[in-house]
Every structure is written in structure tokens, then in C-alpha cells.
């Protein structure tokens, strides 16, 4: 039998467990339960499993990990729970305790513990993968190709975009100033995230151009690394996660604002303090760091307060019908719900239409979609039906992870919609 000491992380979130009254409301919100219809998918079931773990009634077996991991951490249960129970926190904590007790399993141990924290090396491996992908793998629909090598192991044959020929870090300077004659209103650090850096560098360039044109000086600190979400939230490796957090905190130390284009990175970095702060100094540093982080739409609407005329839609998208997928990490984690909609509704050059259940999880959830690909696809199919019902030409979102999932699922369904980051709409 395990003692409660073995569950040091879960213990920190025990209050979240104790709140659950077993009312069962979460059944109607949980995207995993909607597909599986078994009690172990839903928040109530997971809470009861963790309670049994703490009571010593059940052990930290692989089966237990399997049950707890079948969760996209979408936060829908927590948002709607009348008792205020927060299951995702407890599950993230349970993953950490499982890692401490059992270690990580291969091949993820190599990727998570060793490769992701080494940003430069990770870049090279990705680059290597991109060469192989060109040579060995068939072209799928349009410009979308199967990714090769370990990334394709991660993607399990999804239709996902190819690795860029040139990474963002290789194509932009560290300091990007507004053009001559434009007054500098803000100086911000840009956290580019792995996806924008390696897969969507043109998005990064667009964002830098957009910001500088509107009076924002953009610094892209070279020392930044992966946000750590797949490591500490996905795989429960808090030790490695902490190292990654410290790297980012250091890289942005001198800057007052940190802008992100990835809701997952932003919320993971805001959560350093919740999961990784193991001493007073880190608590202070992580709190200060969290306070600086702003999602790009939040920054533009709440701080720069740009007029609608500043959002100049790129020629090819003018007159198109656009719908919006709200990433879980943006709406429910960061509480950024209105800002992107405000932008989309205010621009005259597009026709904005809200899809039904725009805030429903797309099923990507990083590590989750690797372990539970079929389930992840089924969750995505519901999203696809929502998109279809709008008849939109373009789906925009604010998280490259969601973007990959939406590209994969619209392609699977042979749908014409273009999937983009919201900032790609603009010149």
C-alpha cells in the first residue's frame, strides 16, 4: 500500500477533490464522456479513482494511469461544476506522482526528458525529420504532408503540416522595431512556441510585422525554449518542467510583456506557479512571469486598443466567411473569450459567423491525442460538424495545436475550409 507521501502533488490539490459532491452534472459537459459513456471518463469517476488511490484502496498501476490520462484537460467540467471542483489540476498532479513512482515510459522519456528541453538540438532533429519527410513520405492533400520520423510517431499518421524549411528563429532578428515614423507605444517579448517556430514560421513573421506596424517593438529572446506543457502537464515530469520554466523566466526577465500566439503555451506558462514553484524564490519569479503574459488578441484589444481599421484583412481573405474555434486554453484557462470575437466582429472585410459550441474541446490536447488517437478523432468529428454547419470558408483559432487538429480533421472529412491562426487573416 502506498502512503500519502507518495502522492505529494495530488495532496496539494486535495481541496479540489474534496469539493466533488458526485452530483454527476459533469457528464453532460465532458467531451470524453460524450464519446465513451463510461463513468471512468468523466470528472466524477476520475475524482473517485484518485480518492481511492489516496485511501490506499487502489494503487498507482498502469491501468490507473490509463484511466486518469483519458482526459483532454479541457476544463469544461471545472467551468461548469456547481461545487467548484477542478479536476484537470488534480489529474496533472496525479500524472506527476505517477512519474515519480514509476518513471516515464519509452519513447516519450527520451523526447520529454531529453530533447524538448534542448531547444537547439530539438530544432536540428525536427530539421532532420523534415528532410526525411520529403524523401520518404507520400504527399497528401494539397500542401499538407505526413510528418516523418518521431514527429509522425507523435502524430500517428495525422494529416498535419510539414516542418518549415526555415525556422522562425533563423529568419527574424532578435529586436524588431517599428518602421521609421511610427511611434513606439510598447516593447514586448514574443514567446514563439515550438509550433510557430518550427511549423508555422510565416505566422510569426506576420505577427511581428503586424505589431511593429502598429507601434509595438517586438523582442524575440534567443534564450527562450519550449513552454513545457507536454512535459509537466502532459507527461507529469515536473522536474524537467521546472528546468524549462526557469529557462523561459530568465529569457524574458528584462521585458514587461510577453506576447504569445499559442493559448496552450500561455496558459502552461501562467501555470508554472501552480505546479512547479517549489520554493519561495520560484514562487516570486513565476508569479511575476505569469503577470506579464498576454495572449496576442488580449494584448491588441485590451492594451493597444486598436481601431477596426488597423486590422487590414489580406486581399485573398476579403469577403470570406470566417468562423472561430475557441481553444480551451484561451477561453477557459486564460479567460480570453470576448477579445478575438471583438476583432472578428469589428472588421468589415469579412463576414463573421459563430459556430455552435465554438468553445467545445477539439480533442487535440497534446499528449492525449497521441495516446488516444481514435478517441481524439471522434471528439474532433463533433467539431467538424459544427464547422460544417456554418458554411464558413475559413476557420480561425488561436492555438497551433488546435490548428493541427482542425487541419487533420477537416482534411479527413474532405472539407474545403481553410484552417488558420486568427492573425494570419491580416496583411
Amino acid at each position: 500500500m502506498k502512503s500519502s507521501l507518495d502522492f505529494e502533488q495530488i495532496d496539494r490539490f486535495k481541496e479540489d477533490l474534496d469539493k466533488c459532491t458526485k452530483c454527476g452534472f459533469c457528464m453532460s459537459y465532458c467531451p470524453v464522456y460524450q464519446e465513451e459513456r463510461v463513468e471512468s471518463s468523466v470528472a466524477r469517476g476520475k475524482i473517485m479513482l484518485i480518492r481511492a488511490l489516496l485511501d490506499g484502496e487502489l494503487e498507482a498501476t498502469d491501468e490507473m494511469a490509463e484511466q486518469l490520462n483519458r482526459c483532454t484537460l479541457c476544463m469544461t467540467c471545472a467551468e461548469n461544476c456547481p461545487a467548484g471542483t477542478n479536476v484537470p489540476s488534480v489529474i496533472a498532479a496525479a500524472r506527476a506522482d505517477k512519474v515519480r513512482l514509476k518513471g516515464l515510459s519509452f519513447p516519450y522519456s527520451i523526447i520529454y526528458r531529453w530533447l524538448l528541453p534542448r531547444r537547439r538540438l530539438f530544432g536540428y532533429v525536427v530539421r532532420l525529420a523534415s528532410w526525411f519527410q520529403g524523401i520518404f513520405l507520400p504527399k497528401t492533400e494539397g500542401s499538407i504532408r505526413h510528418l516523418s520520423f518521431f514527429l509522425s510517431a507523435l502524430g500517428k499518421g495525422r494529416h498535419i503540416p510539414q516542418i518549415a524549411h526555415k525556422f522562425l528563429r533563423q529568419s527574424v532578428p532578435e529586436i524588431n522595431s517599428p518602421p521609421a515614423g511610427v511611434e513606439v507605444k510598447y516593447t514586448v517579448g514574443y514567446f514563439t512556441g515550438c509550433m510557430t517556430d518550427f511549423v508555422f514560421p510565416e505566422l510569426g513573421e506576420k505577427i511581428i510585422n503586424f505589431l511593429t506596424r502598429n507601434g509595438v517593438e517586438v523582442v524575440v529572446p534567443r534564450g527562450q525554449g519550449c513552454c513545457g506543457a507536454p512535459v509537466f502537464l502532459g507527461a507529469g515530469d515536473f522536474d524537467t518542467g521546472r528546468k524549462m520554466a526557469d529557462v523561459n523566466v530568465k529569457a524574458f526577465k528584462e521585458l514587461d510583456y510577453i506576447i504569445t500566439d499559442c493559448a496552450t503555451c500561455a496558459s502552461a506558462m501562467k501555470d508554472y506557479i501552480k505546479y512547479l514553484a517549489d520554493n519561495e524564490e520560484r514562487k516570486r519569479e513565476y508569479a511575476e512571469f505569469a503577470g506579464k503574459i498576454k495572449d496576442i488578441t488580449e494584448f491588441l484589444v485590451d492594451m493597444v486598443k486598436l481601431p477596426p481599421s488597423a486590422y487590414r484583412v489580406a486581399g485573398e481573405f476579403k469577403g470570406k466567411t470566417v468562423t472561430w474555434h475557441e481553444p480551451c486554453h484561451l477561453g477557459r484557462y486564460l479567460g480570453v473569450k470576448e477579445q478575438p470575437r471583438k476583432i472578428l466582429q469589428s472588421i468589415p472585410d469579412i463576414n463573421y459567423i459563430e459556430m455552435p459550441d465554438a468553445d467545445r474541446c477539439c480533442g487535440m490536447a497534446g499528449t492525449f491525442s497521441i495516446y488516444f488517437y481514435d478517441l481524439s478523432r471522434k471528439i474532433a468529428d463533433k467539431k467538424v460538424a459544427s464547422i460544417k454547419s456554418t458554411g464558413a470558408d475559413i476557420v480561425v483559432t488561436d492555438c497551433p495545436g488546435c490548428q493541427i487538429q482542425l487541419i487533420d480533421s477537416t482534411t479527413r472529412h474532405g472539407m474545403p475550409q481553410k484552417v488558420m491562426h486568427i492573425m494570419e487573416l491580416f496583411e
Binding site: 469539493k19 459532491t21 458526485k22 454527476g24 463513468e39
Partner: protein
């Protein structure tokens, strides 16, 4: 009893994706929404059709294996807890709405359809199924019928049994039986559908349900009244109904749940009040306007604050706050004892007064909430089962409150059913001759007592 051979046979019946056997998977079928009951099943099966249900029951009956039917597991009486182990037969994967017929005003559903999904599908057709247990987001149609559930709307529209036109039921020996029909009138033989409605899974497994629908009301309006005193609130309700207005809902929450209404209603009024009444009127727009005025006028003379919700958003917020009551109150104490008595409407004020006196006598905190419009209350005593002395006092208080309700002409359970939780009171609340008849009916339909054994009445040693 249950051995690995049976598990293999069950696996062949439902397929390997529809049988759960690991410790982890079993644990999550050991509880429902009650506080104190828990028991592990030995296996969980999730059948996909009636033939599978029949094969499961046949196997169980031949081998004397207990079977506990389960839908969403949201009941609050211990009804779906497999107290004797054996098989949990969970219907959540039979979740098809078979059809909705607007002309006939009826619908056919499989038992695992979630009430909220059903209501949403009906709303698209302009139709309405009134029973609305506040667990609508998780409870299933099978559970709603097996518990004969009700909710706020039942004041005007009646409870689940008033909507059951027909059932398909699988009996303990595996026989599939069709009862009732598609028509609103049917005088063919005994009302056997009613025998299974409210039977708490002890007589058969409901595998298909035909329900009567109503056209959705054209307009609704919500009125909120904040009242300083519990007894005054009771009188207000009695007076509204006596004035010939029949609201669709009259709900009552006491100040234990006021937190959920903060921000919606003024703090200074909430601070000095004991009760919020939520009243909904519905019908044609003209009627709704007139009835709203009448209700507001009646409330004004007694309430500190009366509000009429201005739009759907405001309306939703009030009703969400109401639906959160159970969770809210449950999270206030380690253990809650949640009762479900129902008293005649003209005894509401008296019941509350006597209930409060009882709580004072035993020195335990008590909260009153419920569907006050039809006299159905959920008095909740807040306690801690680890504190033996406090817990014993609480049990005594609950017992006294039930006696008060019965003495006022009320009943033991308005809507939650007896299950495990309330069996110790059954003898007080039901004619002994009627209990004997129930047992005889059970013997006829389920002679081996495999279906949800141990529920409703306390077993004597020779029954075990």
C-alpha cells in the same frame, strides 16, 4: 456466484468493448449521488440492444447472479448501488432517440438517452417533456422512469408517470415484454407500465420508452421574490396557488444557498432574508403577462425584493443558481442527510416551522429547499459521519422530521425513491398490507430476486 466463465459468457454477449472488469473500472460503478453508500460490482456490462439485455438477464437468472440496472447513477437514494455485488447493467450506450412524432405528440427513446439531450431534441421540434429533475444533465430516461422522477415543472404538469404511454421491459428470466402503446388513451387490461414506472430497477430492465409530449409553452417568465422569513414564504406560496394562478414552477431555497445568488440580487436584502422563491409562469404571452402581474402583486406585500427576469440570460442565471443547490449544500459539510418528503400544500408553513424546531431541539444545522409549489421539500441536515454523536443526533432529527411530514398527511419520498437510503422508514410510511403485496409482486416477476436485490424494503433474514 459470479466466476470467470460467466465473465466470458457476458463478454460474448456484449462484446469486449462493452464489459468492464478492472478494479479501476469497477470502482467507478460502486457509488451514486448519495453520501454514505458504496459497494463494488463484480462486473459492469454496457449492452447495446434489447437482445443483449435479455441474454444478460437469462444468464444471471440461471446462475443466481444479482443484476443492478443503472443509468446515469445520479439518484440520491442508493438505488443504483450494487449492494450485493454481481453485475451492473449500465444503459448509457443505449442512447438513441428512436423518433419524435409531432402529430402524435409522442416520442420513443432508448433508456440511456440523457434527459438534457432529449429536451434539446424536443425543443427543436417545439415540443416539451415536463419532468425536469435537476440532475437533467446526467440522468437518463430509464432512470427518470424507474424513479418516476419529477422536478420544478411538475407543479403544473405532473411527474414522469403522467407521460409514460408504453414501455418495453426485460424481465428477470430474459423475457421481453411490450406494455402500453403509442396512444394517449389505452384501457387494455391492467396498467402494467405503471408497475414498472417507479419500480427502481427491482422488477425488470426498461429497454424502450414511449412518452407523451406537450407543445412547448409559447412564453415563460421568471419572478424572484426574496423573503425575510421561512414561514412567510410558505404562506406566500399557499396564497399564490389559492389565487387561481398555477405557475409552472415554484421553487424555494433558503439562505444556505444564497451565495449562488449574490451579484444577481442586492446584498443588503439577501443579508436580512431567509428565503428566495423562484416562480415561473408559462403559457400564451397575454396570459403570462397577466399572471406575472398577479404573482408580483401577491409577492410584493410580503417580500423584501421582487424581480422579474428581463431576458433569457438573467432567467438562466437564476435557474442555474437553483440547480446548483444540491452541490452547494453538499459541499458545506462532510456528510449530508438529504430528505425528500412531500406535504399537502396548505401544510407547508407548518411543516417548516416544526422542522426548524426539531433541528433546534437536536442542535443540528438544517437547510430547506425544494419544489415548494407541490409541497415537496428536501430538508438537508448537515453533519459529519465521523463525529458519531453529532451524526446520531442528525439521524434522530431526520427521523422526527419525517414523522412530522407523515403526521401532516405527507409522504416519505416525493421523487427520489426509497432505494437503500429510506428503507428504514418504509414501515412507518406505507401500509404493511401494501408492503406485503409489493413483495408478492416481486416474487412473481423476479422469483430468484436477482434484480436490484436489497432495495426498497428492509430484508428479513430469510429473504437474504
Amino acid at each position: 456466484m459470479l466466476n470467470s466463465k460467466h465473465i466470458d459468457q457476458l463478454r460474448r454477449i456484449v462484446g469486449k468493448e462493452n464489459i468492464l472488469t478492472s478494479k479501476e473500472e469497477l470502482l467507478v460503478y460502486s457509488y451514486d449521488a448519495t453520501n454514505m453508500w458504496q459497494h463494488l460490482p463484480e462486473v459492469v456490462v454496457l449492452p447495446s440492444n434489447v437482445e443483449q439485455i435479455s441474454a444478460i438477464l437469462k444468464l444471471a437468472n440461471e446462475n443466481l447472479i444479482p443484476v443492478t440496472p443503472r443509468g446515469g447513477g445520479t439518484n440520491v437514494s442508493g438505488g443504483s448501488i450494487p449492494i450485493k455485488g454481481g453485475i451492473v447493467l449500465c444503459t448509457t450506450r443505449m442512447d438513441r432517440i428512436i423518433d419524435i412524432n409531432k402529430t402524435n405528440l409522442n416520442a420513443r427513446v432508448e433508456p440511456g438517452v440523457v434527459l438534457q439531450d432529449f429536451q434539446a431534441a424536443l425543443a427543436e421540434e417545439g415540443l416539451f417533456f415536463p419532468p425536469d429533475p435537476q440532475s437533467f444533465s446526467g440522468c437518463t430516461m430509464g432512470g427518470v422512469v424507474a424513479e418516476n422522477s419529477a422536478g420544478p415543472s411538475c407543479l403544473k404538469y405532473g411527474v414522469a408517470k403522467q407521460y409514460v404511454l408504453g414501455l418495453e421491459v426485460v424481465l428477470a428470466d430474459g423475457t421481453t415484454m411490450k406494455l402500453g402503446g403509442l396512444t394517449p388513451k389505452n384501457r387494455t387490461g391492467y396498467e402494467l407500465s405503471m408497475l414498472f414506472t417507479g419500480s427502481e430497477g427491482t422488477l425488470g430492465v426498461i429497454s424502450k420508452i414511449t412518452l407523451r409530449m406537450l407543445p412547448a409553452p409559447k412564453a415563460t417568465r421568471t419572478i424572484v421574490a426574496v423573503i425575510s422569513d421561512v414561514a412567510v414564504a410558505g404562506e406566500t406560496v399557499t396564497e399564490i396557488i389559492a389565487s387561481s394562478v398555477l405557475p409552472s414552477k415554484v421553487e424555494f431555497v433558503d439562505n444556505w444557498t444564497f451565495e449562488k445568488f449574490r451579484g444577481l440580487l442586492p446584498d443588503e436584502i439577501l443579508d436580512k432574508s431567509q428565503v428566495i422563491l423562484l416562480i415561473q409562469v408559462d403559457g400564451l404571452p397575454e396570459t403570462v403577462d397577466a399572471e406575472t402581474q398577479q404573482v408580483v402583486a401577491l409577492c410584493k406585500s410580503r417580500a423584501g425584493e421582487v424581480r422579474v427576469a428581463e431576458d433569457q440570460a438573467e432567467t438562466d442565471r437564476y435557474w442555474q443558481a437553483r440547480a446548483a443547490h444540491f452541490s452547494d449544500i453538499s459541499s458545506r459539510a462532510h456528510t449530508i442527510i438529504n430528505e425528500d418528503i412531500c406535504v399537502p400544500r396548505d401544510k407547508i408553513a407548518e411543516f417548516i416551522k416544526l422542522g426548524q424546531e426539531s433541528a433546534k431541539k437536536y442542535d443540528v444545522p438544517i437547510s430547506f429547499a425544494g419544489h415548494v409549489g407541490d409541497g415537496n421539500f428536501h430538508p438537508v441536515v448537515l453533519t459529519d459521519s465521523r463525529d458519531k454523536e453529532h451524526y446520531q443526533r442528525s439521524l434522530k432529527c431526520v427521523e422526527e422530521i419525517i414523522e412530522i411530514a407523515l403526521s401532516l398527511g405527507g409522504v416519505l419520498s416525493g421523487e427520489h425513491g426509497i432505494g437503500l437510503e429510506k428503507q428504514r422508514f418504509l414501515k412507518k410510511a406505507m401500509d404493511p398490507a401494501a408492503i406485503e403485496i409489493m413483495k408478492k409482486i416481486k416474487d412473481v416477476l423476479d422469483p430468484n430476486h436477482i434484480l436490484n436485490p436489497g432495495k426498497i424494503w428492509e430484508e428479513t433474514s430469510d429473504e437474504e
